[in-house]
């Protein structure tokens, strides 16, 4: 099992959500986050002087998937979230040791 953390643009979230639903992953954990990558924020201007927005709002989606689904899942997110401009985000794939469904006590892939 792997946990996939995808950091995507706010405005791309709806597309990503729909694409994941279409490949059979309706469940997800979503967090509104702020951050920056190499692009280092945005320059804005107020009353004639520039200032830097160091941190930009993003959406972080976390889903735990079966090993064999990882590549399809990642491809789907990449396709749905990409604009080709800086700030499209990143996807992290992390190994997961165990999953427990609290209601039934089931463990492993059936609990995903």
């Amino acid at each position: 099992m792997k946990k996939i953390e995808a950091v995507v643009r706010l405005e791309k979230f709806e597309e990503v959500k729909k694409a994941l639903k279409d490949i059979g992953y309706p469940g997800m954990m979503v967090t509104r986050i702020e951050g920056h990558g190499k692009q280092k924020g945005l320059v804005q201007q107020f009353r004639g002087r520039e200032y830097k927005l160091e941190l930009l709002p993003k959406i972080k989606i976390e889903v735990v998937v079966k090993d064999e689904d990882v590549s399809l899942f990642v491809e789907t997110v990449v396709e749905a979230a990409r604009t080709g401009e800086v700030g499209d985000g990143k996807i992290f794939v992390i190994p997961v040791e165990e999953v427990v469904r609290i209601r039934t006590g089931e463990t492993g892939e059936v609990a995903i």
């Binding site: 702020e34 009353r47 004639g48 830097k52």
Partner: protein
């Protein structure tokens, strides 16, 4: 430590007690002075309307204009709140609310009498305390209503320049002093028959609706306050360069400028104090054109510098045009109003940035909008007056500026008035803020400034359910 602080507070309290006593004695003396005096003139208005049936339309005109000018308080509140951070919005609303409350009372008690009472030596008015005695009269009350909203405009200008760091109680005291003394005494010199209006140049110093009396006074007291307070934390980088501290709502600031622009249609045309002077249409057009030209020129100026269509400076530009046209609005024609507005729009941008570079932190640009353009407005009258309007009346002699062959006379009168206004308002403002700083301290403690004045001073955040992030420029 604790006892020292307690002692200091106690001494402060005693001092305040003495002050209150002095004030009470003063007020009692004023009442005595009035009580023997004079019969009421026309408190019901019946006599006035009988003698002059046309008075009705004048009264309606002046009162509606006064109510429009009152609404400018909302405009100032929105511009200031929008240009400042969310953590100080409650404080700004309180200051804008209470300067009108304090101003209304102080101007009723003594301000109106100093400004429009019986003249003493061209320096100060001396009758009409508390709107009593012969001032209990529909005509005098009408004048009070129109003038008190102007006094409060001068007062509220300052809240922007001292925003985000001035203690609330210092602001209350300041509101009292500007409405009771600084504004009305200078106002007497120009509008109350005082010495500036009788200068032996041109027709004496002229200021139709208050580029000087209202805006330059407010701008200079604001400048004094901003200098005594010093800049906000984070305004200047370690290299000493000014940084942007973006306000929390461009939407509110823009709403504010629309309200102010709207209110100015009462401010300037209403200053005829009569609907029978049809010059009001010329004044309204000039007011509108100068605002439009100011906005455009400020936008162009800041675009040339930053290659951005900067709304903050454009808002300041519209206000700069309005401030500048306020003095000459009755004496110039449309093209001149456009030129006056265009120059105002350039002055406001260059002035605001230069002031920041000199180390003066004026969060909303009040000094540049009201101070620098107040001066420009006064001077422009001496240049562009076209000889079609007289000494606050349609009757001759008419006012003729330099560009219309009137020579330098009027321009000199305008320059003297502007200089006197700068010295008077900046001087008294500086003394006032310095004195308050010595007695009670005028700047909030650093931790309060960083966390915002709203919760520490007032116990209420303006937007309790919305967390916010603060950005400060590089």
């Amino acid at each position: 430590m604790k006892s020292l602080r307690g002692e200091k507070l106690l001494r402060g309290g005693l001092r305040m007690g003495k002050k209150a006593l002095l004030l009470a004695i003063l007020i009692a003396l004023l009442f005595l002075g009035v009580s023997g005096a004079v019969f009421a003139q026309d408190p019901s208005g019946a006599k006035t309307i009988k003698e002059n049936p046309g008075a009705a339309v004048d009264y309606v005109w002046v009162l509606v204009s006064a109510f429009l000018v009152f609404f400018m308080q909302a405009g100032f509140a929105m511009v200031e709140a929008g240009f400042c951070r969310a953590k100080n919005a409650t404080n700004l609303m309180m200051k804008n609310l209470m300067d009108f409350a304090m101003g209304s009372l102080a101007y009723m008690a003594v301000g109106f009498a100093f400004m429009f009472g019986k003249d003493v030596a061209g320096f100060i008015g001396s009758t009409g305390w508390f709107l009593r005695g012969s001032d209990y009269d529909v005509g005098r009350y009408l004048l009070y209503m129109f003038q008190v909203v102007f006094a409060a405009t001068a007062a509220t200008i300052v809240s922007g320049a001292v925003a985000e760091r001035l203690k609330f109680k210092a602001y209350l005291i300041y509101s009292l002093v500007i409405s009771a003394l600084i504004y009305p005494i200078y106002g007497h010199w120009v509008w109350g028959g005082g010495w500036l209006s009788n200068l032996p140049f041109g027709l004496g110093h002229l200021d139709f609706a208050g580029s000087g009396v209202v805006h330059l006074v407010g701008g200079m007291v604001g400048l004094a306050g901003a200098i005594v307070l010093g800049p906000r934390f984070g305004k200047y980088g370690k290299d000493g360069k000014p940084r942007a501290i973006p306000g929390h709502s461009i939407t509110l600031a823009a709403l504010g400028v629309f309200i102010l622009w709207f209110g100015w249609f009462g401010f300037n045309p209403g200053s005829t104090l009569s609907a029978h002077e049809l010059r009001i249409s010329v004044i309204a057009v000039n007011t509108n054109l100068a605002a439009a030209a100011g906005a455009l020129a400020a936008l162009a100026t800041i675009y040339l510098k930053t290659k951005k269509y900067d709304i903050g400076m454009t808002i300041n530009g519209a206000l700069a045009g309005l401030v500048a046209i306020t003095a000459p609005c009755a004496w110039v024609e449309a093209w001149a109003a456009v030129v006056i507005g265009l120059i105002a729009g350039v002055i406001v941008v260059v002035g605001a940035l230069a002031l920041e570079n000199l180390g003066v932190d004026d969060p909303v640009g009040a000094v540049s909008v009201h101070g620098f353009n107040g001066i420009w407005g006064l001077l422009s009258l001496g240049l562009f007056a076209d000889g079609t309007y007289g000494n606050y009346t349609t009757e001759a002699p008419h006012v003729i500026g330099l560009f219309y062959g009137g020579g330098f006379g009027q321009l000199i009168a305008q320059a003297i008035g502007a200089l006197v206004c700068v010295i008077w308002a900046f001087g008294l403002g500086f003394i006032l803020f310095k004195a308050m700083d010595k007695l009670i301290g005028i700047r909030v403690p650093p931790e309060e400034e960083l966390s915002g004045l709203d919760v520490k001073e007032h116990g209420t955040a303006a937007y309790p359910n919305f967390p916010y992030v603060e950005e400060i420029g590089a």
